[in-house]
């Protein structure tokens, strides 16, 4: 069998038989009924929806972090220690400067 000719013939057959453009009776009415049931969302409601959906994982993360802070390993820093360490870290550069000044 000549495969190239076979291929050409099949493609020609497909071109010679374009699909029908027939639209079922009152199809557009059905589509319009669907669309009226799902009105076009405006930009504000799209944003509101997205933010509302995003709030769920945010709350979940917050709860997980809270649980971790309260139920963490016993050796972990307490709230007061954490505040002190944070203060030391933030003020480290200032403390270093003042130490250097006093050395002069």
């Amino acid at each position: 069998m000549n495969l190239a000719e076979f291929e050409r013939k099949l493609i020609a057959a497909a071109r010679a038989n374009p699909p029908s453009e027939r639209v079922p009776y009152s199809f557009e009415k059905r589509i319009m009924a669907h669309l009226r049931a799902h009105p076009l969302p405006d930009e504000c409601s799209q944003w509101a929806g997205a933010l509302w959906r995003a709030s769920v994982p945010c709350v979940a993360i917050m709860l997980l972090l809270s649980a971790w802070a309260f139920l963490g390993p016993p050796g972990a820093a307490t709230g007061a220690d954490l505040a002190q360490e944070f203060d030391n870290t933030v003020m480290a550069a200032v403390d270093q400067d003042s130490t250097a000044d006093s050395a002069w």
Binding site: A13, S20, V23, E28, L35, H38, L40
Partner: protein
């Protein structure tokens, strides 16, 4: 006075859903013809067209009006058909031993005398559909757009959202896949 497409679209975006109906009426025949190239059952065709129109309505804000509405809609239609093909990748390894009688007759006529087998015969149409159904989704889409609808690589790139080099690579692979399937028909039937 008849409203232009731009006026209809603007009205829909202002909240008048009824203005979408003339667009549905005008372009449904083309969307149906496109869907019928990829789906066999009429219920599947209707589902695809319905999905296209729902997407068109939901995404209407993204239509900028730089190109005709029809081009934008056909891009949506082709991409929806492609998604349908990817979801329905079943029975691709069927053999050709169960060809219908008219298909076998047409093949035998073709083997005996290639010019004698009519391209307009229903059997030929069935056979093409059977061959296309064996192709993977990207190959079927490319063969349909490039060979059957005779579109350019640039047009296909716009319709599918693929880059032009990707269209060329997929077209090359699709032709190879198709030749493999045709060779299998020849082997199944005549060796």
């Amino acid at each position: 006075m008849e409203r232009t497409e731009a006026e209809l679209i603007a009205a829909v975006l202002r909240g008048d859903a009824g203005s979408f109906e003339p667009l549905v009426e005008k372009y449904s025949p083309r969307v149906f013809a496109t869907a019928r190239r990829y789906a066999r059952r009429e219920s599947e065709v209707e589902d695809i067209v319905q999905e296209v129109w729902l997407k068109a309505y939901q995404k209407l804000r993204s239509f900028r009006g730089e190109a005709p509405f029809e081009h934008w809609l056909m891009r949506l239609a082709v991409r929806t058909c492609y998604d349908f093909l990817r979801r329905h990748q079943r029975n691709r390894e069927a053999t050709f031993s169960e060809l219908s009688e008219p298909e076998q007759d047409w093949l035998e006529r073709f083997v005996a005398q290639p010019d004698g087998a009519s391209e307009t015969a229903e059997a030929a149409r069935q056979l093409v559909r059977r061959v296309l159904e064996q192709l993977p989704a990207p190959a079927r889409l490319i063969i349909t757009l490039l060979e059957i609808e005779d579109r350019s690589v640039k047009e296909i790139a716009k319709l599918t959202g693929w880059s032009m080099p990707l269209v060329k690579v997929r077209a090359f692979r699709a032709r190879a896949e198709m030749r493999k399937i045709l060779a299998r028909i020849a082997t199944d039937k005549y060796l």
